[in-house]
Subunit: 191 residues, 2 copies
Amino acid sequence: MRDTRAELLAQAEILVRGRGYSGFSYGDLAEAVSIRKASIHHHFRTKTDLALALVEAYDARYDAALAAIVAAQPDAIARIEAYGRHYLTGVENGLGCLCAVLAIERDTLPDALRAELARFFDKHIAWLERVLAEGCADGSLRPGLDPAATARMVVATLEGALMLERLLAGSAGFRLTLAALCESLRPARTG
Amino acid sequence: MRDTRAELLAQAEILVRGRGYSGFSYGDLAEAVSIRKASIHHHFRTKTDLALALVEAYDARYDAALAAIVAAQPDAIARIEAYGRHYLTGVENGLGCLCAVLAIERDTLPDALRAELARFFDKHIAWLERVLAEGCADGSLRPGLDPAATARMVVATLEGALMLERLLAGSAGFRLTLAALCESLRPARTG
DNA sequence: AAAAATCTACCTACTAGATGGTAGCCATAA
DNA sequence: TTATGGCTACCATCTAGTAGGTAGATTTTT
């Protein structure tokens, strides 16, 4: 038996990330999953409920990814590069970041959703701040680097590059930005 | 006599930048400008026409701004900081970048509009690349910095920070990222 | 200068289709 | 037997866009 709810989440995510939240409808989703529009309401009572579920699932996947990066990569720069590669898959599939897409429509978003988005980004910033602070401590990062400010900058850069390069040069463009970002964190070459 | 077309452009820009392109309607705009919905079609035949006019006007304002920055600031870092301050006004007013907002809905955008957006961003990247190349030449930037890659990174960072800090910490958060960005471009302190 | 024609900018009234959401029915599986 | 997960059929509202009209300004012709 198929897991309709999971299919709805998967297809809705693709639609939202490609066209924006207002830009996708239950009608589109129904077509993508081949059930009737009204049946979606059985799984997600309102569109807001669906959006919240999307963010929750997306957030959970990132939780796992961040933990995996820390486990696999000992070096701060390698961790940030690995983190950036998650955004890269978005570029490769032509999909924006779910939370960035939703954030764009901030003014019309329900408060609960807006709060979830803020939590999502705050979590990433906090994670990066720890990664950067550790890198500063062990000398693998440019001396004088401010972990708090740089953490915000890293999220901003990757989110911006995903938005930008999905439109412009695709993964080739994204890789340039990711490389420049990592380079800017490294200590100056001595020699 | 009032310039209805200009008022329509101004209000539509605010609406789009706050709620997304699909998230605003001729109905909203009519209310904001206090004319009837049908009358908007007299000035902008279709919603796509309106979007194109919005981008054109936005682009023209940035053209002027970029020229003014080059004229006023001799130093590369100062130029990038001044460029960043234009995004800051967006954060302060709670408005996203018009072109970023539109870019989010890429998959449903008319080709002509998508092409305009690409031209907009390409222009910014090209401008920054020149600024950075000059800064490299006169030694005011970190040695070894790649102007082409860094230009993309700068646009990405500022666009991302605008998206992010409009949701999170406002101008205080944006300023942190802008400072970290400029710091990352400077030559390493000797001492 | 007067009259006629055209243009501008708005209006009311409308359309066809999409939107999110509801009510209630029915088959199947636990 | 009872929940589950679909369905059809609906609803009010909103969507971009059209048709056709009107008052007033501007331009053209006489």
